[in-house]
């Protein structure tokens, strides 16, 4: 494996970008998220870890209101981004999702060309005045996602023809293209091989400079490698949240300790 730069501890100084208070999520009668309050800092990578079914994805999807697309899902409590309640009736969830981008577990490029995949968001939101501006956005997004050199000669080939790891970076580039402030990633590497994973992790580390990133992962090593802060979920509860180093070296809760030492999961 290649040498990863150990993320330095920058945590405490940053502003809270997202703050959630007493969030409850119900799927019909299932109580999936129980009373979760958390502050997520700006320009930091925050990792959500926890056993399967504990509600990591559910909570992540609350942050850009993707849960609105599920009929049976009901969210209570407050989530503020930049001090603004995103569940306020005045907020348009569609606008919110341009500000809070999302990358999914399985790479899901559209069955369009690489160019059109990236240009999709900017076109919808009218971000480019003309064709040149659009090309500029596409190029810079691909550069930021570290994919430019690999695809610059084949922008009009279908995005589905790329390898899995390239597809996932394409999806990240696609999210970056609408200039979000927050990027949510739900197990972005679980469908990738170790080398592609390393590339994506490297990319996440670079993106931290400009974006607030929340990443769900099942790999403790990955959480340790890419995140500065870690939140441990268990059975719908947020058990413990803190600087990644502290969580892994010195967990306060017994359940956290059991999980990171592999006693359940």
């Amino acid at each position: 494996m290649n040498q990863m730069t150990k993320p330095e501890k920058v945590a405490a100084m940053n502003e809270a970008k997202i703050s959630a208070e007493k969030v409850q999520v119900f799927y019909g009668d299932t109580h999936a998220i129980k009373d979760v309050s958390i502050r997520i800092e700006e320009k930091t990578v925050t990792a959500f870890i926890g056993p399967s079914g504990c509600g990591k994805s559910t909570f992540l999807r609350c942050i850009n209101r993707m849960n609105d697309t599920i009929d049976v899902c009901r969210v209570e409590g407050n989530i503020l981004i930049d001090g603004e309640d995103i569940y306020d009736p005045k907020v348009d969830p569609v606008q919110l999702r341009a500000k809070v981008g999302m990358v999914f577990q399985k790479p899901n490029p559209f069955p369009k060309s690489i160019f059109d995949n990236i240009a999709y968001g900017p076109r919808i939101h009218g971000l480019a005045r003309n064709k040149a501006a659009l090309e500029e956005i596409v190029a810079s997004s691909l550069q930021k996602a570290g994919l430019w050199n690999e695809v610059k000669d084949r922008l009009d080939e279908p995005g589905t023809g790329l390898s899995g790891g390239q597809q996932q970076r394409l999806c990240i580039a696609r999210a970056i293209a609408v200039s979000p402030e927050v990027i949510l990633m739900d197990e972005p590497c679980s469908a990738l091989d170790p080398i592609a994973t390393a590339k994506v992790e490297e990319l996440i580390d670079e993106l931290r400079e400009n974006y607030t990133i929340v990443i769900v992962t099942h790999s403790m090593q990955q959480a340790a490698r890419v995140s500065q802060r870690t939140a441990f979920f268990h059975l719908g509860n947020l058990v413990e949240e803190g600087a990644t180093n502290d969580i892994f070296t010195n967990p306060r809760d017994k359940r956290t300790q059991d999980y990171i030492t592999g006693r359940f999961g």
Binding site: N64, M66, T69, D71, V94, Q95, L96, R97, A98, K99, G101, M102, F104, K106, N108, P109, F110, P111, K112, Y120, G121, I124, H125, T160, C171, R174, A175, V178
Partner: protein, 489 residues
């Protein structure tokens, strides 16, 4: 031995074979199933199949061959004189009829079987005797016919006896052979599965052979037609006016034109409506609405086309006349009668709506949820997602659905007969009566025309043309649908 009885006996033999085979295998393993190569049922089935399959095959063969052989034997008894008088076919059918009559008479007890074999026209009025037991004969029975009929009965009796012996013999032999092989090491499961595979292959070949048969009969008759009527006149002739006295003009162009015209109108109605309905149902409808609306829409697909035809004739046609006809709402006089291209096209369009919508619905649903999430996650609205991601992704499949709908429209008959009229015409006015290829096939074959005349044979070349066009469309549609399927994996 009668046919049903033979079948029953074979089945009984098979059932007995099942029990015996199973028992023998069990006995060879000393009653311990674990020592058997296969489950005990397989040994039973193995014996049962060995009893049934050769026996039934022999039975089918025998049934096909016996009449041919007997016919050949008996027809050599018919004198040239009576053949000259009518024809061999007619005489032979008389013979069969008398033979059947004698059978009935024997069965009814009016004659003993001895008498039936020995009565002579010289002494008895056979027609009268048979009339008494309810067998009506068209003409008096000549002694030659009676003789032939008696010979016919004799041979049939012999044949039936032989049939029973051979078939049941095969059943017993087969069962015995398989039973004797049933011991614990025999691989009964493999053997049964091999037989089952052959049965499946046989079923598949029946379907394929039927298609080939249909195509061959079409081709044969088409070739026959082109011998009587020049192909160029058929394909490029602008007039369709068959006259059974001869000198018909049989140009396909007006029929093809009307077929395409009506299909086009039908597609213009069904594609947008069906597609929008599919988008609504798959993307916007709540599960409750969908649960009610989708079956309701699909009920439309179950309505027989003749009912649509009535709807066209009784409702849509008059309604259109009220609007476009003389003294109608629009004050134009475009439409003379209720039957018109427009009437048939509209109704056919309604018929195709569920076809288009349920195929498109499946295709739209097959677009992975990940595509929707990806688009929504970028801040696209639901309708942007539908327009820019889902429909483009589903487009090839939707085109396939439309092509399939088109090939149904082209092949539709009942709605055309009742809705579009029977006059072959080449006109641009959609409110005029025209008729299509399919409707003309029906009318050419249901008349009194001699089957060997070009006026009747043209139906086959019409059918062939249609067959080629719809086959082409279907293949093209399947190709597109398949290509689409590969896209996500």
């Amino acid at each position: 031995m009668s046919l049903p009885l033979i079948v029953l006996v074979i089945l009984a033999l098979a059932a007995a074979g099942f029990v015996l085979g199973r028992g023998r295998a069990m006995a060879s393993a000393g009653g311990d199933i674990r020592l058997l190569h296969s489950l005990p049922g397989y040994y039973g089935w193995n014996v049962a199949l060995a009893a049934m399959i050769p026996a039934f095959l022999a039975l089918v063969l025998w049934l096909a061959i016996q009449p041919v052989v007997i016919n050949g034997q008996v027809s050599s008894m018919i004198s040239q004189a009576s053949i000259d008088q009518s024809s061999l076919d007619l005489v032979m059918s008389d013979v069969r009829r008398v033979a059947e009559g004698l059978d009935t008479a024997v069965a009814a007890g009016a004659l003993t079987s001895e008498q039936a074999g020995s009565i002579r026209t010289e002494f008895t009025d056979v027609r009268d005797r048979l009339g008494q037991v309810g067998v009506a004969l068209g003409s008096d029975v000549t002694s030659e016919t009676l003789h032939a009929a008696q010979r016919y009965r004799e041979l049939s009796g012999l044949g039936d006896l032989g049939r029973a012996i051979v078939v049941l013999g095969l059943a017993v032999l087969g069962a015995a052979w398989a039973w004797q092989r049933s011991n614990k090491d025999f691989r009964a499961r493999n053997s049964v599965e091999r037989v089952v595979r052959w049965i499946l292959i046989a079923a598949a070949s029946i379907a394929v052979l039927t298609t080939v048969g249909i195509a061959l009969s079409l081709i044969f008759n088409t070739v026959e037609f082109f011998r009587l009527y020049p192909a160029a006149d058929f394909f490029f002739g602008l007039t369709w006016s068959p006259s059974f006295g001869g000198g018909s003009e049989l140009g396909i162009v007006p029929l093809i034109w009307a077929t395409l015209y009506i299909s086009l109108i039908a597609l213009a109605v069904s594609v947008p409506v069906g597609l929008f309905a599919a988008i609504y149902l798959s993307e916007y409808a709540t599960p409750a609405v969908r649960a009610v609306a989708k079956p309701l829409l699909e009920v439309l697909a179950g309505i027989p086309t003749i009912v649509y035809g009535l709807f066209a004739l009784l409702t849509v046609g008059p309604l259109l006349v009220d609007v476009f006809g003389n003294g109608g709402l629009l004050g134009v006089n475009w439409m003379a009668g209720g039957t018109a291209v427009m009437t048939a096209g509209l109704v056919m369009g309604i018929m195709l709506i569920p076809f288009v919508s349920s195929l498109s619905d499946d295709i739209i649903n097959a677009v992975p949820q990940a595509m929707r999430d990806g688009s929504l996650g970028l801040g696209a609205t639901h309708s942007e997602t539908v327009k820019q991601v889902i429909l483009p992704a589903a487009l090839p499949g939707i085109v396939g659905a439309i092509l399939l709908a088109a090939s149904r429209a082209i092949g539709e008959t009942m709605i055309v007969v009742l809705g579009a009229g029977a006059a072959a015409k080449l006109s641009l006015n959609p409110f005029e009566a025209m008729t299509t290829v399919t409707a003309k096939i029906v009318s050419q074959l249901t008349g009194d025309a001699d089957f060997a005349s070009p006026e009747a044979l043209v139906a086959f070349s019409l059918g062939m043309t249609l067959f080629v066009v719809t086959l082409g469309l279907n293949i093209f549609a399947l190709y597109i649908v398949r290509k689409y399927r590969e896209q996500y994996e």
